[in-house]
Symmetry: C2
Subunit: 195 residues, 2 copies
DNA sequence: GTCCTTGTTGAACAACCGTATAGTTTGCCC
DNA sequence: GGGCAAACTATACGGTTGTTCAACAAGGAC
């Protein structure tokens, strides 16, 4: 009888990352431990070291996976509205705007503000995030014949999005995805007009 | 020779809380350990158990201390502007809007979203926070003869404030206190008018 | 000066942490 | 069906975790 099934290295890595994120969603960074992640993934303790080398490397991989997931969902978004409208609808869809996912983000931010490697990666990712958002805002504004400081507005918008996420994470009843989306639209409307 | 100096229980508790917050500011929840807090406070390991019973109780006390600190600073704020203007100027003053303090908040939010006791306390405190902000907004709006949904606007504003704090925490160069304050004023201006 | 409350120490404890490593099993290749 | 790379298990290890507890000492009361 088979005692275990081998997986391709890439597949196993993905499975372990998934398990790590589940643990973080459930109990924050306190539940990001060798024992708990391995139990969640159904593997033995040694495998994390074999595939990732260390727990901090696994955390970095998990961080990257979160961004990949957003980018992946972005591709499949419907195209029947403006780019800005699409991005916002995506960010507040149940797939991304839910307690588990936002709890993971909150935990990762806390780690990023303390761990140099994670912080650098965060800044790289956020720079691209800001660039994309700036473009989307500029598009919407020019489509309405308006002139705005798109970069500044994008930064503000991103901060609001993050804050709405924190609120949903700690007190979901007060901040649904729909309400959060509406808040963002209200912020943008006076500047870029309808989109 | 004296081997140590006794402190009043209240004073010692305050000193330990202060040390705990220093540790959290430096290294997040990972540095919130018995050894590190005691070293920071210059006391022996047994004293935390004696004064707080457990580390989670110490964390709850530290959480409360953070709110007390904001309330205390609020009392000493100058009165030469509207209440809303005062509150915002206070929240983005260097005393409250700095990396150490915001790193503590970020860490505490992450814990609150995972620990039931902390989460309940957070909700209580935020309910009052929201109430105060709603009143301040309503005052400013009526002073300008405008009518707004003050409660909804207060919730949005608070989320923006939190998001700006996260941004400053992880990437201080992109979000100064002055810029954060301006962002909040820009959010409010279209609704409540000048304040 | 002696007592007594209580703030404080320091060590002991079991449980858990992340990492390293030696040995086993799997499944593909030839 | 034998060989082989590598995915995987299982255990051991030193260090750190939070908590407990008996003994000590400081400083006011009297």
């Amino acid at each position: 009888m088979r005692r275990y099934t081998r997986l391709d290295a890439a597949q196993r890595r993905a499975a372990v990352v998934e398990a790590a994120l589940s643990c973080i969603a459930r109990g924050g960074i306190q539940d990001f431990t060798v024992d708990k992640v391995c139990a969640e993934a159904g593997i033995s303790r040694g495998l994390i070291g074999h595939h990732f080398g260390s727990m901090s490397a696994l955390l970095a991989a998990a961080y990257g996976h979160m961004y990949d997931q957003v980018a992946l969902t972005a591709v499949s978004a419907s195209a029947d509205q403006s780019r800005l409208g699409r991005v916002l609808a995506l960010l507040f869809s149940p797939d991304l705007f839910n307690r588990d996912a936002l709890n993971i983000w909150l935990t990762l931010w806390g780690q990023a503000s303390v761990t140099p490697e994670l912080r650098d990666e965060h800044r790289r990712q956020y720079a691209e995030y800001r660039r994309n958002m700036t473009e989307a805002i500029a598009e919407a504004a020019t489509a309405n014949g308006r002139h705005v400081d798109a970069a500044a507005l994008a930064l503000t918008l991103i901060c609001l999005i993050d804050g709405l996420g924190v609120q949903h994470c700690v007190e979901p009843a007060t901040m649904s995805g729909d309400l959060a989306l509406q808040n963002c639209r209200d912020l943008l409307l006076p500047y870029v007009g309808p989109f």
